[in-house]
């Protein structure tokens, strides 16, 4: 019967320390890749870069130089598809977040 008391007296030594939440850095250089924020960040960059590529291709087409029509159109399609994918991922993430928040703790 003394066993539980022994454990209780040793309790402070084995109690886990509370873990401080990892601070979320707002600039991409210090964000670790595996984190959720890192994934969203790189996805946004992907969308932005394909949007830029599409804008550039369209500008060049309008100015009358370089590239065939199909190149310009495909750049636009890539940008659209990238953005659609990003949108779907974001929606999924938001609904997953909401579901988690609804969980009873």
């Amino acid at each position: 019967m003394s066993f539980p008391l022994t454990l209780i007296s040793q309790a402070p030594a084995i109690a886990p320390e509370p873990i401080a939440p990892e601070p979320i850095a707002l600039d991409s250089t210090s964000t670790p890749e595996g984190t959720f924020h890192g994934v969203m960040e790189s996805a946004i960059q992907g969308v932005t870069s394909s949007q830029n590529a599409s804008s550039q291709a369209t500008e060049r087409f309008l100015a009358g130089e370089g590239g065939d029509l199909h190149t310009t159109i495909l750049a636009a399609q890539r940008a659209t598809l990238s953005f659609d994918l990003f949108l779907q991922v974001r929606n999924k993430v938001v609904s997953a977040y909401q579901e988690i928040m609804r969980m009873q703790v």
């Binding site: 009358g64 130089e65 065939d68 029509l69 199909h70 159109i73």
Partner: protein, 149 residues
Amino acid sequence: MSLFDALSVSASGMSAQRTRAELLTENLANAETTRTPEGGPYRRKDAVFATDYGVSPFASVFEAQTGDGAGGGLAGVGVADITVDNREPERRYQPGHPDADAEGYVAFPRINPAEDMVDLMGAARGYEANVAAVAAVKDMIQHSIDLFH
């Protein structure tokens, strides 16, 4: 490298062949003309074709300049010159003719109608080929646009 440039090239081809056809038609119409405003009989005209690298308003300056070979530039065509046949006209003996000279000879144009007729058919065929090229390229551009859907 745009397909629109190809349209300009074909348009230049149509233009050049049409000019050639017009000159040949003029030759045929004037095969027997002994009297012209410039004096003397009609003189046969011909078009000299030359490759024209500056045909497209769409082409970037860079592309037009690297025309021959390296950049795959636009080899359109243009009428570089219209030559007039300056050989001695053909003289036929027709003393009753109003344009006969003192010895009764009339100066006629040096035109072989059969030859010019064949050339005219060639120009027409060349024109049609350029028209076909325009249609084919236009189709390709149209299909590119379908990529949007």
